[in-house]
Amino acid sequence: MIKSILKSDDFKLKNCINYIVVAVALVAACTLHGMGELKTSYMNLLVQIGYSIILAVSLNLVVGFLGELSLGHAGFMCVGAYLGTFISMQLSEVIESKIICLLISMLCGGVIAAVFGFLVGLPALRLKGDYLAIVTLAFGEIIRTIFKNLPWFGKAMGLSTGAVKFTKKDTPLFIIVFITVLVVLFLVQNLVRSKHGRAITAIRDNEIAAKAMGINVTFYKLFVFVIAAFFAGVAGVFYGHYTTPVMYTFFSYNYSIEILVMVVLGGMGSINGSIIAATLIPIINFKLQEKLPGDLAALKFLIYALILIGIVIFNNAPKLAPIKEKISIKAIIAKLTAKNRKPEDILNDPAHWDKIPTKISMDEVLSTDIQPGNEYVPDKPEKGGK
């Protein structure tokens, strides 16, 4: 039994490399911190990276795996940040340890956000594509509008979370955040690499066929929205413990879009890509903030926008595909190994059949149909052997 478990995909190096990288990064950061070599700015940057990873990975579940565009992810984070941190602040009056407060409120914030995820998932059952995108965007704005007017959360002033905020004297927040990142990665990858993950990707690839295969589309759509919202809520709780005050301005659709940008830059459906993008974007933001003071700050958005447009066009433009293939790592490796490849090999390997020039394209095959002058005249049927 254990042997077969160890043999499964879960324990292949390429499937757990991300755990290793995150864990090594965490251990390295802990060591540096223990030696007193880790600057506060880097510790705080690590927290930002951590919750960005959680957000990006969870949004990737919705966008990359389920194939539904959501522009309201910051809304779930907002729920977690306001309500989760609020709960934590109430708890802090009874419980002294900030860590325990955080852990409890993480669960609470996540669960409440998940409830909202369920509510947003409901329209997702009826709507698709851009319509769903605008509904999720609308949802995010509604949440924000409500929180900025409720008296319990400081209204426009925001929720002051000084009582529970992790300060320099506490256990560095990044440790807890990164352990959570590992847990989130574990859960998300387990989901994706299971029959349920297959069902979810099947819905993305072809909803009609998925339905015809008896996949419970309703259940899985709601399930994905709930899970993603749960994680976003957890990220929100971290946010509330990382900075004060929790203000509605942060959770605008612009932030949802920033998370989406992480997912798209990392590659939809690629968890490792999301991790990399969610690491790079906070670093870029931080470095640009550090390096571009004053008037140059406006340049930051300019650079950001240009990078965004450039990368998306480069990655997706059909016309650039041949250029991209030439310079991609895969292509370089293939080139290095291609010399010993005989044409017959290519012919026998269906993975390379797209490289074989054919005269008849698929459309022509499909269009063979009964037309005037090309009608089918039934032959004398020959009874097939039975």
Partner: protein
């Protein structure tokens, strides 16, 4: 208990004023290979869509093994035992061949596995996955795609994609298999091969199969009974030879 698997009664649907299909009465017996033929636009695929819950019939109803399935959703109908393939192939293109089949196996009671079992990787998850893989390989072997199991579905040649669709439908363990133009786009050699596969499926699984096909050699070589549709109505029905040689049918095809 009769051995009639699928019975439709006065099945019909109209879109707006257009009667796409009207009063189709079918009776398909167990292990039967039944053909549904007719010129383009005759409403064959619409009948499939009615039987699988894509459209809801406006008149009539249909029964699978005596149980009325009208009004059920696509998912429910699939679980009751009707599986289908699609005329314009609808594979999960970005997934490997074996994963396509694994999706088909998703609802089998023997592979039931709560999402949280997978989420927390309880031992049951590994057990289920392994058994599913074995089963999927077995099904792929039947349609002759075992070798290709790790390729992306969209990289398969056309004929193999058709076969994969059949394998995937088969994986849902249906009592009735609906094949929508399974031989379209295949060369004669592949068609021959497919005929063997269809028969093998019928024999190995005691399957009842309803198929739409334009290739009359394929139909007449395979089916015991056919129904000929034209403009949404039944033109002829019964024994394959007789029905296909019906003057009305020939007229409908040649247009005279």
């Amino acid at each position: 208990m009769s051995d009639i698997v699928l019975r439709t009664e006065d099945l019909g649907i109209s879109f707006g004023g257009l009667k796409a299909v009207q009063s189709v009465n079918l009776e398909i017996k167990k292990k039967q290979l039944y053909g549904l033929v007719g010129p383009n636009g005759a409403g064959k695929t619409t009948v499939f869509n009615l039987l699988t819950g894509v459209y809801q019939p406006t008149t009539g109803t249909f029964y699978l093994n005596g149980e009325e399935l009208k009004g059920k959703t696509q998912e429910q109908i699939n679980r009751k035992g009707i599986a289908r393939t699609f005329q314009n192939i609808r594979l999960f293109n970005n997934m490997s061949v074996i994963r396509n089949v694994l999706v088909g196996l998703h609802n089998q009671p023997e592979f039931k596995c709560n999402p949280f079992v997978s989420l927390f990787r309880l031992p049951k998850h590994y057990d289920t996955e392994n058994r599913m893989r074995e089963k999927a390989k077995e099904i792929l072997r039947i349609v002759g795609l075992e070798e290709e199991r790790n390729n992306l579905a969209c990289n398969l040649p056309y004929g193999k994609q058709r076969k994969l669709e059949i394998a995937r439908a088969l994986a849902t363990n249906p009592t009735l298999l609906l094949l929508d133009e399974p031989a379209a786009g295949m060369n004669p050699h592949e068609t021959e091969d497919l005929m063997h596969i269809v028969r093998k499926i019928r024999d190995d699984f005691d399957m009842t199969i309803l198929l739409i096909e334009h290739d009359m050699k394929f139909v007449s070589g395979l089916c015991d009974e056919v129904t000929v549709l034209n403009f949404g109505t039944v033109l002829a029905q019964g024994d394959t030879n007789t029905a296909l040689n019906d003057p009305e049918v020939i007229k409908a095809y040649i247009g005279e």
